[in-house]
Symmetry: C2
Subunit: 343 residues, 2 copies
């Protein structure tokens, strides 16, 4: 009954419009990055002078992140986090206006956390990259490689999960099959995750996160994007609709069972990149206002703010200004929130 | 104790960075608008061929909107909404790169709903503008003028609220004081709203919304922006920090008591402009998928889809294609959701 010769509107037309919007989004991401990078650099210089800036910001983190930060996680962040940064390696690296084939997607981003030398882990830098990639079946989204935090003896808040996730990832990389389930590292992690069953909820487990579905390598993604571009050129509908990828349900269900150490890795990552990072001053101001209201005793502060020289106690009030006159007000990082207020 | 001569970091520095980010945001809004307008025009041409496109999209609306759409509202939208559009009058109108003083803010937007001739109200177009304005005390946000829906006798789902809100607004405009509480229109609306106390929850009441705080006129806003620019030039802190406007708490508390017919006017407006409008094809596709799964009988459809000629019943399946072959698939608007599925 349907007249296939002269359809009123086709899914291809809708898909072409969505593709056009996606291209605009990509251009906007690049434009935004180019415009804001100098301002972020300026911001970094200012906030470097404010003790506890990032711990205070993260203390105000939205629910997406906050619900996963336990009191012990918070203590580590407060006492040791000195710097946080978001960069987009897919933008800095690329040469042409079209990201396809020129390396990573501009939607990919890297989160960098810097810590003081501390009692819990050997690392002073933890970097986690989130790659926006396309799988050969049409799925696209963020994937990441597990970060192996080098916990000190008896200090591992993740109970071995980040290490196990890293070892499985490396073992799979060696076999060239990122879905390999025949490895002992797979069996071990699967058993551990099933046994833990949500018991381990340390924020740091998030560093072991891989994907909401399964890992997709840069090679697979490049191939899938090339195939997709080709299909579009041939005006075929298969795979041309970004909203309806050509997935087999069985395959998807199977992939969904991939062992994963953190339930909300993508939400946390996106929240860091798109909320905490651009909104840091807003969150810091919020933290200051809460502090003003709660009448915090400045004597609670210790010398942890000075990351350059831990042996020399400093007068924090003298450094950052303890009062807020109406004129040129100096900014106090304030007392670090040594305990979660919201838990 | 604090060394005010050499502060580590000042609130002014943080405010200057926030200002720089805000300027970038403004530029991004303009850029996005310029790039996407031609694609929206193309989209309008395609979706004009799809019956019930906008009702199907709004049926998938996110919680911010959905929670306020009652079954009777939904029925009116499904049976009569033929077109929806978002424009930004502050961008089209302005000449220079700086919006201050060149008319409305680029963040301002206008929502336009087109309806068939219907049994409920006389209007075939309802337009509601949301102006991003700054009050003289530093507050900034969206305000709107009430839209007086011309309900047919006995059909007013808002129980007179949109009409009363409009009359109060016009009466205040005549007195030149948008905070005037000495008017009988104010007393009447206040009494009505207090009496209703959340009883009236028709979606259409939203057309009467004014502000989350109080109305701010274009004149007040222009004056406040000019004063703010001046204060920034003089490097004064008062009013220069967009996060900490110079509000007196008493005044704010008083303003918060302004009579308002809808509790969530701003959320709904923003959701329409920033979610429904750019994501319409995604929501439409979702609606199609739900329909595929629910195995809707096409015979349920009637001739309401043809707005141009209501007297001539048409074969919807013939027009839009009832099946989805793998080749060039035509798009069916599908059965209109005549009742809320989620309520």
């Amino acid at each position: 009954m349907a007249d296939q010769e002269t359809p009123s509107a086709t899914y291809e037309e809708l898909a072409a419009i969505e593709d056009a919007f996606e291209e605009i989004d990509t251009e906007m991401i690049r434009k935004q990055y180019a415009l804001s990078t100098p301002v972020y650099t300026k911001r970094a210089a200012v906030i470097a002078k404010i003790p506890n800036f990032w711990p205070l910001v993260i203390e105000q983190a939205p629910q997406e992140i906050d619900q996963f930060i336990q009191p012990k996680d918070s203590q580590i962040l407060v006492e040791n986090l000195t710097s946080f940064e978001v960069t987009r390696p897919g933008i800095a690296a690329e040469s042409g206006p079209d990201s396809a084939g020129s390396g990573e997607n501009p939607r990919s981003f890297k989160l960098r956390f810097e810590f003081k030398a501390n009692d819990d882990f050997e690392d002073t830098v933890l970097e986690k990259s989130f790659w926006h990639r396309r799988a050969k079946d049409g799925w696209s989204g963020l994937v990441s490689e597990p970060v192996n935090i080098r916990w000190k003896t008896g200090k591992d808040l993740t109970e071995g999960l980040t290490g196990m996730a890293s070892r499985l990832f490396e073992a799979r990389r060696k076999t060239g099959d990122f879905e390999n389930r025949g490895l002992q590292e797979y069996t071990a992690l699967k058993k551990k995750v099933e046994h833990a069953n949500g018991m381990n909820t340390s924020f740091f487990t998030w560093f072991g996160w891989v994907s909401s579905r399964r890992y997709v390598s840069a090679e697979e993604s490049a191939e899938a994007e090339a195939k997709r571009a080709e299909a579009k050129g041939e005006d075929k509908s298969d795979g041309a609709d970004p909203e309806a990828p050509d997935l087999e349900n069985e395959e998807l269900a199977d992939d969904d069972q991939e062992v994963e150490v953190h339930e909300a890795g993508e939400d946390i990552a996106v929240s860091f990149a798109e909320d905490i990072w651009p909104g840091a001053i807003k969150y810091f101001t919020q933290a200051q206002e809460q502090e003003d209201m709660s009448d915090v005793d400045f004597e609670e502060m210790d010398d942890e703010e000075d990351s350059a020289d831990e042996d020399a106690p400093v007068d924090i009030r003298g450094l950052v200004g303890a009062s807020k006159p109406n004129g040129s007000r100096s900014v106090s990082g304030g007392a670090p929130p040594s305990k979660k207020r919201k838990t």
